[in-house]
């Protein structure tokens, strides 16, 4: 090989290896030395399969023979990604393109090898970055949920206080009854039953609360949206009560199941209900908030409507933008996060005027056919 050609090959960034028709290495340029860690003298004349991994290593001779017999190229002119082995035994990915060199005698083959380790690393970094964005979103969703719960503390404390109050009164009255000369046992048993029922009620509220507050990964399952609403109402009613608002629950019968994450959907509903409760605090508003489910063409729609003063056209466009808020203490994240949750569920969250007045926030989720929740 003349000096000019050698200089040309050595200037190549990619490894260039030329083999003969038996697979023996004839040329091994400088980039190949850097890539594999072998000196040319160590590889020239040896079978190129020493640089390969299983199963190519075992079958490479066959590949060449097949090609020489049939003339049908498998790799030549196409290129592919394969694994390669360095002198120290370590493995790395390369993209390889092969050309045929014709001349006197049997054909030779030239391979151009490009090290993909860097690209793979970048790919891994990109995936990690996407993963951390997803995690950050889940954390943000969780924080938003916590902050909503924080705003609801008064109502929740009240809601847990109710059964505790009933338990206390029943227990004390039962004690009073039992101290009488001939106590009415039927009355006593009734009081005891009420005590256990109310203790269970308090436990149920705390369970719902824990479910919402716990940091957790998204968990999708087939859901009855009505059941999701009913569970939520346990918590939402406490907030409504504190703010002297009445919740009306209007759930359509026979809805198809939807696929989703209960807690995240409840977070959306809670957010909408809290906004609605705020909306009817304005003087002169009827303090009524309606939670409704209906069957729609696109699946199942859940809506929260209020009889407040509606939306200022100026903020309608910015409604779902992060940090857009009209509340003095608002983060402006509630609706933005709610919309991203609904969209992750394949649905859409939107606003429309409520009739005769107020706002209606509604979202739909696609129905899942052929399954029951």
């Amino acid at each position: 090989m003349n000096g000019e050609l050698q200089a040309l090959l050595d200037a190549c960034v990619d490894a260039v290896i030329i083999i003969d028709h038996r697979g023996c290495i004839m040329t091994f340029n400088r980039a190949a030395v850097r890539m594999f860690g072998y000196q040319p003298a160590e590889v020239i004349g040896r079978n190129v399969n020493m640089l390969m991994l299983t199963p190519d290593q075992q079958h490479h001779d066959e590949y060449i023979n097949n090609y020489l017999d049939t003339g049908t190229p498998k790799v030549i002119g196409v290129g592919r990604e394969v694994g390669a082995r360095r002198r120290d035994g370590s493995q790395f990915p390369v993209s390889i393109s092969i050309g045929r060199i014709d001349g006197d005698g049997p054909p030779r083959f030239v391979g151009f090898l490009h090290d993909l380790s860097m690209r793979r690393e970048q790919e891994a970094k990109r995936l990690a970055a996407e993963e951390s964005v997803r995690e950050a979103r889940e954390r943000l969703t969780h924080v938003a949920r916590l902050s909503t719960m924080g705003e609801m503390t008064t109502g929740l404390a009240h809601e847990i206080n109710q059964p505790l109050t009933a338990i206390t009164i029943y227990a004390q009255a039962a004690e009073r009854l039992a101290a009488q000369p001939s106590p009415d046992l039927g009355e006593l048993v009734g009081a005891l039953r009420q005590i256990s029922a109310q203790a269970l009620r308090a436990g149920e509220i705390i369970k719902r609360l824990r479910d919402l507050v716990r940091n957790r990964q998204t968990h999708e399952e087939l859901l009855d949206l009505n059941a999701v609403v009913r569970e939520l109402v346990v918590l939402a009613e406490s907030d409504a009560r504190v703010n002297n608002v009445q919740l009306v629950i209007d759930l359509a019968e026979g809805l198809p199941p939807v696929l989703g994450d209960t807690i995240q959907l409840q977070q959306v509903m809670l957010n909408l209900v809290r906004n609605a409760i705020d909306a009817v605090q304005a003087p002169g508003c009827e303090r009524l908030v309606t939670l409704r489910t209906v069957r729609v063409a696109a699946g199942v729609e859940m809506s929260v409507s209020d009889l407040g003063s509606g939306l200022d056209p100026a903020i309608r466009d910015r409604l779902f933008e992060a940090f857009a808020t009209t509340k003095p203490a608002g983060t402006g994240l509630g609706l933005a996060i709610s919309r991203s949750i609904v969209e992750a569920h394949g649905g859409r969250l939107a606003w429309r005027p409520n009739l005769p007045r107020g706002s209606c926030f509604h979202f739909h989720l696609p129905a899942v056919s052929g399954g029951t929740p």
Binding site: H158, A166, I169, Y170, G190, A197, V245, Q246
Partner: protein
Amino acid sequence: MKNHPPTVYIVDDDEAVRASLRFLIRSVGLPAQAHASAAEFLAGYDRRDPGCLLLDVRMPGMSGLELQQELNRRGATIPVVFITGHGDVPMAVEAMQQGAFDFLQKPFRDQDLLDRVQRALARDAESRARLAAQAEIRARLATLTPRETEVMQLITRGKANKVVGAELGVSQRTVEIHRAHVMEKMHAGSLAELVRMVLDTAEPTQNP
């Protein structure tokens, strides 16, 4: 007037709390009536019915405070004991300013509640007795003739018969006869008693 025994009325939207309160009140032998809302209570309540009211301060629809205002507007004198939650102190203060009898924070000791209920019932009985007495005095006052009324007004201001006679242009003897009729019609044993009756009825007549 219907003859109801004094009753403890309970208004609370929480079914369990309502039922437990009724249970407790009945366990000490007092009649109790429970209602789920202010509207339900108002629909069945006659302000002449004696008793006291145990009222949850927070309720959907008409709140406890609003019910109290409505009762005030209707001239009902039933004593109201408010039951409040933890963070409701400002509401309790407002209720007291509007004339609530007392308030209790949840959860509470049964004895505290029963003591307040007993005091509220005693207050109600007292004020009803006073109102009945005033009504009786007003009924007696209505039987006086215009001349007797004039004489009564002057003598209860401490004027002597002679002065009254001079002011009304009649003889002292005539004044004495009117005065005897007044004392008799008013069932007053002494001038002091008559003065007290007039004072007792003075406030309601200014403020019907």
